[in-house]
Structures are given as C-alpha cells and as structure tokens.
C-alpha cells in the first residue's frame, strides 16, 4: 500500500507488525504463532473501529485517494465489451471524460465517466479529471447516440470540478454544462449515475442528471470543495475539515437529504483495496437498477425523473 491516510495509520502499522512476525516465524526456529493470533484478533477489532467510525474528512481523503479506482477501472471490471469513442465533433477530444459503447450482461449500453489519472503523467493527459466544454459536449453526443439506439446510459462521476481555465470560459463552459443538464432531463432512455470518487459541483452535475443516483460509500458530492467552502465562508481554507462536516457531502448525508438513491458499500479500507470485489458491489446495484428502469415506458421514465428532481429543496411559506 503506497498511500496511507492519516486516520488509518494504526491499522497499517499493526498489519506490518503481523507480517514481520510471520516472516520471523517462518525464517527462524522460534514459534510466534500465539502472538500472531493475538495480534490478528486485535487487528480485526481495530479495523472495525477505524473503518466503522469514519468522519466526513476521512471520507474526503478516501474519495481523493491516489490509488482509488477510476472510471476505466470499473469499465474494465463491469463490462464484457467496451469501445471507446472520441471527440465532440466541434473542437477536440477531452480525455478528462471517457465514453463509448459497451455490453453489460449482454445488453448494449453507453458508458460515460470522468477520468482521472493515477500518476502525474496520466493526470496531465487527463487534466486531473477536470473537463473542458468539449468533454461535456462529447458526453452529450454519446448520450444522444444512446437515445437514438435505445441504449441505457451509465455515468460514472469522479471530478474535482469543471476546469476553471481561460480556454474553457472562451468555449462556453457554462453553456456546455447547462446544455447537458437540459438535454439529460429529456433523454428517452434510462440514465444511471454513480459517484465513484469526488462529485465536484457543476462539473459533476453535467454527467449527473439521472433516473437513479448512487454513491460509493466513501465518495463525496458537493456544491464546492471543503477547502473552497472554508475559504469562502470563513475566509480560512484551513477549516476544510469543519466545512466537510457542515456542508453535508458524504454519501450518507446525501441519502439522508433525499438526493441520492443508494449508498453502495465499499470494501473494508476503501475501494482501492480490491477493485474486483468493489466492482461486484456496484454490479449488484446496477443490475437491479437497470432492471427496474428498463421496465418503464418512456412516459413513466420522464415523469418519474421530473418528480424526482422537482421535490428537491427546503422551503416554507412566510406567514402573514
């Protein structure tokens, strides 16, 4: 494990200790089996304590973990076939978003997702998973193609946000996002959105208008990053930890606020510990979701989608 998060340090240290003792036992005459058993049961308790009691800030760290599986990792695990398609047909190909046609348990689908890199080189290529307008326009092109051929759309959300750059503004970042929101609202095929890492504001939302929105347990979805919120609200970006709690950005918070449909459990210690196992957790939910949505007529689908978003909000009427 290359990257250890601060809160999970005790677990990792204990694991290393156990490994050390095991090696010592096998290499020498001295038998430490009893100690090892004792430590292993302690590890189990410690893991339950550490991972069972994660604070919002811990989850933020987990969502941003450099080894966290990306869209392409899950595509590889979940689909039998994936043909990636490139370009928005207007300007270029934005590699911060990947998309294409795939087969899911024999059913043709369209898959689209934000794509981060796992190292510097790949991150530069992928612009750290922060799309330009051409990325959103490519996504929309593929969604419209899915609509034409009656394929469900599956979106993986994993971005810090739409790229705040000069060129992005010149080419209409706002318009590209807004257009996707409007067009996704009217897609006549089922749309399933799964937040797999960070769901950063409008840049995430532009792939996030679906009939169902699910979130991996340790992913986040927010109007602004905790650092940004802290800087804006309290003029101090060091208060990010506090902002992560106040802003209600974890999967459980969003479930409670009635914004997402399901929290998809994660492998103990985070999705990056076992991407195959994690994919099966996603698979279970995705299969059920698609089964339900594909049984609806277009009218039912659109009406339910509208009802779902129409009711989001907290307001009351002023008396007198």
């Amino acid at each position: 494990m290359k990257h250890v998060l601060p809160f999970e340090k005790p677990v990792v240290e204990l694991k290393e200790k156990i490994a050390e003792l095991k090696k010592f036992t096998s290499d020498s005459e001295i038998d430490l089996t009893d100690e090892i058993t004792r430590l292993e049961s302690r590890l189990e308790k410690l893991e339950a304590e550490v991972y069972g009691n994660m604070q919002p800030w811990d989850r933020v760290q987990m969502a941003r973990h450099p080894e966290r599986p990306t869209t392409l990792d899950y595509i590889h695990e979940l689909f039998d076939l994936f043909i990636e398609c490139h370009g928005d047909r207007y300007y270029g190909d934005d590699e911060a978003i990947v998309g294409g046609v795939a087969k899911y348990k024999g059913i043709p689908v369209t898959v689209i997702g934000h794509q981060r890199g796992k190292d510097t080189k790949e991150n530069i290529r992928r612009n750290f998973g922060m799309p330009h307008p051409e990325g959103y326009r490519k996504a929309l092109r593929l969604m419209k193609q899915a609509e034409k051929f009656g394929r469900p759309v599956i979106c993986f959300i994993d971005t810090k946000g739409a790229y705040p750059g000069k060129a992005a503004e010149e080419r209409g970042q706002s318009e590209a996002i807004a257009r996707n929101l409007k067009e996704m609202a009217g897609l006549t095929v089922p749309v399933v959105c799964i937040v797999i890492g960070e769901g950063g504001s409008g840049g995430a939302l532009a792939l996030g208008v679906g009939d169902r929105i699910h979130m991996l347990e340790n992913s986040t979805y927010s109007v602004i990053s905790p650092e940004g919120a802290a800087a804006l609200l309290w003029k101090d970006s060091n208060l990010a930890q506090k902002a992560a709690e106040t802003m209600k950005i974890t999967s459980y918070d969003l479930k409670e606020l009635g914004i997402i449909d399901e929290v998809i459990p994660e492998v103990k210690g985070g999705a990056h510990r076992d991407v195959q196992a994690q994919a099966t957790y996603i698979d279970d939910v995705l299969m059920e979701t698609l089964k339900t949505l594909r049984s609806l007529t277009v009218e039912e689908l659109l009406e339910q989608r509208w009802e779902k978003y129409k009711k989001i909000g907290a307001y009351t009427t002023l008396e007198g």
């Binding site: 209409g172 318009e175 996002i177 929101l181 602004i224 919120a229 802003m247 989001i312």
Partner: protein
C-alpha cells in the same frame, strides 16, 4: 528565534499597513444614498434623480448600475399589468448552517423582497409574458432552494398558460449555505426548461451583472435567445480562481458580456434603454403564445 524577534520589532515600529482595504463588489455597484453621486466608471458627478430617470444608466459613460427586481419589472411591464407569483416562499436552513436564517431575515428587511428572485406575469407593450427577475441585493442573488423552486414553478406555469418566459439573471452562483441542495436547483430549473422547450415555449434570457457559477451554468445559458447587458460580468469560474489555476493574467475584458459575444456565447448585447423594445419585437415575432 533571534531573526523572528527582530522581525517582530520591525513590525512594531513600522507604520506600514499590511493590508489594504479593497472595496468589494457590493460597495462598488451600489448607488450611494444622498442627493449626488459619482459614477464608478467615469467618475462624473450627477444627481441621483437623474440616474433613476435614466434607468440607472450613467448619462455620461453608459455604465449600467444594478437594478432591483422591482425597478426592472417597472421598466419593462405595462403599468399595473404585473401579477407576482409565490412571493411568500422563503428558505429553510436544511444544513443547520449557523447564522443563515438571520442573514436571510436581514436581507428580507433590507431588500424588501423575500428571496433573490421575483416571478410573475404581465404584459410588455401589450404582449403577455411570464418572467423571473433575480435581484443581486438579496444574498448576492445566489441560488438556493427557493430561487430554484420559484423559477421552476414559474416556467411550469408559463408552459401551462402558454406564455413566453423571460429570465433576467443576476447571481453570484449557488448558495453555499444550502450545500448540495442548491446545486440540485441547477438540475431542477434546467429540467423545467426542457419541459418548456418540448412544449415549444419561447425562452429569452438576459444576463445582467453579475451572472456566474451555477446560474450561468444552468438556466441563464439555456435561452432560445441569450442576451446580456453591456459590461456585465458573466462566467462559470471566478477570475481569481482561473488566474491561480493557469498562472497568467487575464485580459481586462475577460468574462464581460462583450467578451462572450465575441466568443459566440451570446446573441446580442443590449443597452438597457433598448431592452423593452427588443423584448417587444422578439415577443411579437413569436406570436401567438411564443410559439406554443
């Protein structure tokens, strides 16, 4: 240790101020109370009444001051034709954000409106139209649950009543204190627009100063006609964030209405004095019922 001590001493004896007071957007844009005022652009001094009579446009350099929602409505709709919708809808505090409800209460008192958007219908030179006018005097025009709800409801009503819809935007973006609920208002409003669009409804958006973030990236950009007032700041990300990200200085006209026009994001930049006439002509072209 010693070096730090010396610096501390230097600080005590130095009279140089470490921070400069930068006037914020609000104080720059606000028309100051009093008889006379000075244009923030051309520095010309004139009577306040002169400005009011001129629809809050500087008679000298044509700088467009901010308007309140009421002023905007009065400047466009035929006398006594405006009927307001959902005026009493107010926000709750869904995240339990400290001090949020007090801030809302204060802005309600200060601005005389209950939220950052006023919606309703009326006639413009005889043509019926529904409208949403945002007001940057209320929480910087930020979009929370109520702004999203009022706009979505108004668009739905316009669809049902087969009325064209006009939106004047003025907003700093999503309202932080309502967190992800405000983000979802982008979806809600855009969805209402898609339904309106499917029904053949005419949507005209007019972006006024400022239109940024979540509002710019949702309904503001979705008009059949996207218009803007001269000099209005319009953009997705803030200038400072972009400068920090790309590490270069941005041109002065970056994210102005004129900049957007040049880059193909707007149909037209419209002087406030010409607004009513242009809207009338657009409504006329789409009769009856704005295409529905």
């Amino acid at each position: 240790m010693i070096k730090g001590g010396i610096n501390l001493l230097k600080d005590i004896f130095s009279k140089k101020k470490k921070y400069a007071t930068i006037p914020n957007e609000e104080s720059k844009q606000e028309v100051p109370e009093g008889l006379m005022l000075k244009c923030p652009e051309c520095k010309k001094i004139y009577y306040r009444k002169e400005l009011d009579k001129n629809l809050k446009v500087c008679p000298n350099c044509h700088h467009h001051y901010r308007m309140t929602a009421r002023e905007r409505i009065d400047s466009l709709f035929d006398a006594n034709s405006f009927e307001e919708w959902d005026a009493n809808l107010i926000s709750e505090n869904p995240l339990g954000f400290p001090g949020y409800l007090d801030k809302l209460e204060k802005d309600r008192k200060k601005s005389g409106i209950n939220e950052a958007v006023v919606t309703g219908k009326g006639t413009i030179n005889g043509f019926p139209a529904a409208i949403g006018v945002m007001d940057a005097h209320f929480r910087m025009g930020s979009m929370g649950s109520v702004v999203g709800e009022k706009i979505a409801r108004a668009i739905e009503k316009a669809r049902e009543q087969k009325l064209p819809f006009i939106i004047f935007t003025a907003s700093g973006g999503a309202r932080m204190q309502e967190g992800v609920l405000s983000l979802m208002q982008m979806t809600k409003t855009s969805m209402a627009i898609e339904r309106f669009h499917q029904a053949g409804g005419l949507l005209i958006t007019v972006m006024t100063h400022p239109t940024t973030g979540g509002v710019s990236a949702s309904f503001a950009s979705l008009g059949d006609y996207n218009l803007a007032e001269p000099g209005a700041l319009i953009g997705f990300a803030g200038r400072r964030i972009i400068e920090q990200t790309i590490r270069e200085k941005l041109p002065d006209d970056f994210q102005t209405a004129e900049f957007l026009l040049k880059h193909g994001q707007l149909d037209k930049v419209v002087h406030r004095h010409d607004m009513k006439e242009l809207l009338t002509d657009l409504l006329d072209i789409h009769q009856p019922g704005g295409g529905q």
